[in-house]
Symmetry: C2
Subunit: 456 residues, 2 copies
């Protein structure tokens, strides 16, 4: 065996984020106001987000400088390693060369702080004292709690009630970083109180938690709202992943034939793959870019490419994306970070143009793949990137059949230390697959907003 | 801020372990047979350990080559980073320069695999097919499960019953690496059955789990036993930590005034500090080496320096060490890895000779210090190294008073992702300190074996 890890130094932490927008073959469709259904203005967004992030959302600059205080925080865990999976290749008996980018080394345990830190910084710079946000499984809430603490901002996290009860240790982690966490629906907002009156034991949903976070931000002095995925600026901040990886592939004297990552809102996949898009569409490199989503929430493979609300309560902006319908509630798969009805508009456009492709996977096979990977490489993956592991394994096994020496790279965007209950269920044979919920999706898609032709 | 992490490449993984024995000012006292109470022979130990480890236990070679397959596994996480704790220094407002060696990046989450991998390798080379071991809080069992899997050995872990029930996720992690875990006492050994007959709900103890592991090894074909601390060869394997750190301090163009680490059995502290001992005793460097133990199990600060059994059932070798008495059961502090009545003989001799010193700390202040550290540096420490963090903080605050710019280095030997319940208790104000249990210790120390003067 030769080199296992390709490690960069702190001086190799990117100085700029890569903005794919000027390199897209066609511009992104306009984002619409949820009430008016005409294009949003910066003023519409200012109650929710700091101006710098609003500008990044629509920027056509290819490179956006990373503020020095953000790079200083990145040093706490970046650059992250790129691994060659020698042991797993051997276990799979494949001629493929498999690499994985390991984002689980951050203190919160995933890629999420790459943007949380940037968002906290801009809020601080623009005079905010407090951030409200929501979290499902807890990865995003942990990252935001971590980031707010480092920039001396208060942080209020509305955590989907069922996760709050099932994952007490994610909550403890956020508390260790000084955040305040309440189960959603909570008594702290009017929308929360409304749902609690209907059902004091309400288990909550991501859409409802977003509504509480948004209400908190617009009604509380010094507070703005923060979102962990979907938006262009979130994908932008994540591009440190793919930029580092390009340098690391140079170190390895190799080049990927395929890039594989999971998609829930699309931020980890964007950060991992967007820096490679110019290689493909400008330099003509033959890279296959494969998104992997859960069969229980198959936004891209089964969604409509239409404008839809980002949240169930219809309070956030309306974007054109593959959507299952904003009222769709996915089955309770363990990959909580992938339970979203829509998808990042950038990921959607690139899929629509054939620059990316997407596959949907069932839950049990993703755990089978993650278990195979853990035995070989030692790392216990979060349930979300287990979807990428599954497709990487499929492709490696195809190479075994064909004899092709393909170079497969996947994004291992978080560890599973707070998801061991899911592994327990898997080893006990108690995990189930959820069939593609066609009727529920059709019903939810019937509620898509009617958008004027000129904005579609 | 300048460089935050000092990172080495894979070529910097040490090629040899450092054996302190030839550099000790006087030889270690003999280890005795538990029945005969005269010096053990290799033949006495062979039912338990492979010959190579028995030879390492008494070796007088200063450098012992690390087998290439062991170094290959080390590449999965080594070299580990040395961090400069800029943010914590600022939070403490200290002129001290604080560094920490971060061993929590290994897949099992601590320093333990440094020796688990070596032990698995030698057992495999000598034809074993299976290893039995015990675990308390689960760090060691996880490391052994991880290591056995990589060398294709079966692994049976006897896990202290109360931990088995309280920490189900550590068990899940071991299962993910293919190990078999039973709560101890178990029905799988005669000693286990004996205790279960007395009390079917027995909560177990480390001493009892060791007895089950030993019985399993001596009664099962192809099986040997493995211990995660205390023994000389275990400390030897851990010296990769301190060797890397010496190179990293050169990169930082700095040199430590004090080295601080927690001690339970003494292996992480040995690995962290022993490579610096020649600097102190040969080159006359003024390094303070400070061990930190829990007040609830104060082996070095309150123990007798006498020969004693390593386990409650008196089946293992008898070594000269600071001991609270082999029948002493420490209070249920969350730092499960520090609940041991004895201590590594090497650590004891170096304390006796004044080359190391030891302090005992109460539980609550160690969590206060770990919480301060997590806020500043982001990393959530395991309860064991929280003891080192406490003393590092004390020393940094002393520097604030005196204005001294001391260089403080501590060993952050594991993460706390599986210990969040302990942080919950701390934040809820429910953690307690346990007073120094003088009467229980006196009673246990009354049972020390009588050893002939020529062996003392």
């Amino acid at each position: 065996m030769e080199q296992t890890k390709f490690l960069l130094g702190e001086k190799d932490i990117p100085t700029h984020w890569y903005n794919v927008q000027p390199d897209l073959p066609e511009p992104l469709p306009p984002v619409l106001h949820p009430g008016r259904l005409d294009p949003v203005t910066p003023d519409d967004l200012l109650p929710l987000f700091p101006m710098e992030l609003i500008m990044q959302e629509v920027s056509q600059e290819r490179w956006i400088e990373i503020p020095e205080p953000v790079r200083e925080v990145y040093k706490l865990w970046r650059p992250t390693p790129l691994y060659r999976a020698y042991r797993w290749e051997k276990a799979l008996d494949t001629p493929a060369r498999i690499y994985y980018k390991w984002e689980g080394v951050s203190p919160p345990g995933s890629h999420k702080p790459n943007t949380a830190v940037a968002q906290a910084y801009y809020n601080k710079m623009e005079g905010q004292t407090r951030i409200s946000t929501e979290t499902g499984a807890g990865q995003w809430g942990s990252a935001m709690a971590f980031a707010c603490n480092l920039f001396d901002l208060e942080c209020k996290v509305y955590m989907v009630a069922i996760s709050y009860r099932q994952k007490p240790y994610r909550k403890s982690m956020m508390e260790a970083w000084g955040a305040t966490i309440v189960p959603s629906p909570s008594a702290d907002t009017s929308v929360g109180r409304k749902y609690l009156e209907e059902d004091p034991e309400h288990t909550g949903s991501l859409g409802l938690a977003i509504s509480e976070g948004v209400e908190d931000a617009v009604t509380t002095e010094g507070t703005k709202y923060s979102l962990g995925s979907v938006l262009n600026h979130v994908l932008l901040h994540q591009t440190v992943i793919g930029q580092e990886m390009k340098k690391q592939f140079e170190m390895a004297d190799d080049y990927p034939d395929m890039l594989i990552g999971c998609i829930g809102g699309g931020s980890s996949m964007g950060g991992f793959s967007l820096p490679w898009v110019p290689d493909k569409i400008k330099d003509g490199k033959d890279i296959q870019i494969i998104c992997v989503e859960p069969m229980a929430s198959p936004s891209v493979t089964k969604g409509l490419y239409r404008h839809d609300f980002g949240d169930a309560a219809k309070t956030g902006p309306v974007a054109k994306m593959y959507t299952l319908g904003h009222s769709f509630i996915p089955a309770p798969i363990h990959a909580g970070g992938l339970r979203y009805h829509g998808m990042a508009p950038i990921i959607c456009l690139l899929n629509e143009l054939g620059i990316m492709e997407t596959r949907a996977e069932h839950q049990v096979p993703t755990f089978e793949a993650a278990a195979s990977f853990a035995l070989a490489e030692g790392i216990i993956s979060a349930p979300e990137p287990a979807h990428a592991i599954k497709v990487a394994m499929d492709e490696a096994l195809k190479c075994k059949e064909t004899g092709e020496e393909k170079v497969i790279a996947f994004n291992l965007c978080g560890h599973g230390h707070f998801d061991m209950g899911a592994y327990d269920a898997y080893f006990a044979g108690e995990l189930v697959n959820y069939e593609y919920p066609e009727d529920k999706i059709k019903a939810a898609q019937a509620e898509l907003p009617e958008v004027a032709p000129e904005y579609q």
